[in-house]
């Protein structure tokens, strides 16, 4: 924590959890998709479902999906901007059992037809907890710089990734692997101390068996 966590963040109101956190959830989904989205199907549960219009949670999620940050004054008009830019958006309120009160599920389709989905919650103060990416169970908060490495479950892949990180002197604070089945698609969620350079990102992306590497920066 530093003084700018208290006198800050600079954000679009009205609520750090319902607005700023929602922008970040949208942004995570957009980053994982890795291209401009043309279709967003959004499900809202709990308190998000009850108060999403009054808090502008809908606008915030869409703004994030369009790549905006939580202090972007265009958030207020994001629904109109989405329409102008050819992003079709749908909202549905649902009950997700045992989910955090502020939970959203976002399913995106990109320009190339690629798809990405996340489930995550806004857990207060603009902090988020992402629990699912492309159907794979993950767990990261966005409090630390977080690398999400989507890959094929092949021997040596984890060692190769962590080796490159070691060469770049990036310290790992938390590591989680999710692998629903042997040899299939898997995801490493790696929370790190300090920054991750573009050079490291680029070298990770071209390693064998890597599908995509996404960096989600801390607040």
């Amino acid at each position: 924590m530093n003084v700018f966590d208290i006198i800050g963040p600079v954000m679009i109101g009205p609520s750090s959890s319902h607005t700023a956190g929602a922008v970040r959830l949208g942004r995570v989904a957009w980053k994982i998709l890795g291209e401009t989205a043309t279709k967003a199907e959004i499900q809202l549960s709990g308190s998000f479902a009850q108060t999403y219009r009054g808090h502008g949670t809908d606008k915030a999620l869409v703004a994030g999906i369009m790549g905006m940050h939580s202090d972007d004054e265009r958030i207020r008009h994001s629904l109109e901007l989405a329409e102008e830019q050819g992003l079709s958006v749908s909202f549905e309120t649902v009950e997700i059992p045992d989910a955090h009160p502020n939970t959203a599920r976002i399913q995106l389709t990109g320009q190339s037809g690629a798809k990405a989905s996340i489930q995550g919650a806004s857990i207060g103060g603009g902090n988020i907890l992402v629990s699912e990416v492309n159907g794979l169970s993950v767990s990261f908060t966005g409090q630390y710089n977080t690398l999400m490495v989507l890959h094929y479950d092949k021997p040596g892949t984890i060692a190769a990734v962590t080796n490159f990180m070691a060469y770049s002197e990036v310290n790992i604070g938390n590591f989680r692997l999710s692998r629903p089945r042997k040899g299939g698609e898997a995801v490493m969620t790696i929370e790190v101390d300090g920054d991750v350079s573009d050079a490291l990102m680029n070298s990770l992306k071209i390693l064998p068996n890597i599908i995509n590497v996404v960096l989600i920066r801390a607040i």
Binding site: M1, I6, P14, G54
Partner: protein, 296 residues
């Protein structure tokens, strides 16, 4: 380096070295963030500018929140301030500035969470007021935000600054205590006096619950920013007059944590108790969801 686990630590470090709390915090934060003092001063100045812009934008009489429940009241208050009211133009203008920022927040405006979005009007109502009324320099106003930030870091670590965890005392109460300390520094008081002001402000909001009508950051949040400003000014005036808090500030923070822990869930941002559970609150909730359906 400082660990921000007690306000006493901040005060005695400052007193010992003949500095203000803001100087101690600025110096320490530059070290901790491995940045220059000039650099983080500039970032804080930017935040002050965002606060000033939010005051300006929030005073628009046509401003309405996304839900339609609030907006336009700060413009009324600013007009009324011209008459001098009961307590003078300065005080009413200070309240209006804080209200403007809180209303602008409800209307999806750009604000500085200080420490939270729900309590974002209290530092602008106090620090920006002193600046805009010619009672301090811009540099002093920026520095006062470091004092407020240092106090807020201690409260966040030792208690909480989230309504969902500690009730409104943790949001508007903390903001008010941070502002009180900042005001004492701007008023020429000592670091120890700033600590007393902080304690007095906390004591006066202890037990305040978080009960947002329809779950929105509007009613009663906007007007609680107003009382937070009033309490910050009165706490600062007491401290500057040489009046001490009988209970030391760090014990007040501890007490606030205990009160927050023992508060039932219904009174911690869930909109299930307090004002959120009144007949009018249910009526407003219904009206809001009807409007929502109408828009669809």
């Amino acid at each position: 380096m400082l660990d921000y686990t007690s306000v006493q630590e901040l005060c005695s470090e400052a007193e010992k070295r003949g500095l203000t709390i803001s100087q101690v915090v600025l110096e320490d934060q530059a070290q901790q963030m491995e940045r220059t003092q000039e650099d983080i001063f500039a970032e804080m100045e930017h935040r002050l500018t965002v606060m000033e812009e939010a005051v300006q934008a929030g005073l628009n009489p046509d401003l309405r929140s996304t839900s339609g429940l609030t907006g336009g009241d700060s413009a009324k208050l600013m007009d009324y301030a011209q008459t001098g009211g009961l307590t003078g133009s300065f005080f009413n203008r200070a309240l209006a500035r804080g209200m403007a920022v809180a209303e602008y927040n409800g209307a999806m405006g750009k604000i500085v969470a200080a420490p939270t979005a729900g309590s974002c009007g209290i530092l602008p109502g106090t620090v920006v007021s002193l600046l805009q009324e010619g009672k301090c320099s811009r540099k002093e106003a920026v520095m006062a935000l470091f004092t407020a930030g240092g106090i807020g870091m201690v409260i966040a670590q030792k208690a909480s600054i989230a309504g969902a965890q500690g009730g409104c005392q943790a949001e508007c109460g903390s903001a008010s205590a941070m502002a009180a300390a900042a005001l004492v520094e701007l008023g020429g008081g000592s670091p120890t006096q700033a600590g007393h002001a902080c304690a007095i402000a906390l004591k006066n909001q202890m037990g305040l619950v978080c009960d947002p009508v329809a779950g929105l950051v509007e009613v009663p949040c906007i007007k609680r920013n107003i009382s937070g400003i009033a309490i910050a000014f009165s706490a600062a005036e007491l401290a500057l007059a040489g009046i001490d808090s009988k209970i030391p500030v760090d014990e007040c923070i501890q007490a606030m944590k205990q009160v927050g822990d023992s508060m039932p869930c219904a009174l911690k941002e869930t909109a299930l108790g307090g004002l959120a559970a009144t007949p009018t609150a249910y009526f407003l909730l219904k009206k809001e969801s009807k409007q929502r359906k109408f828009q669809e």
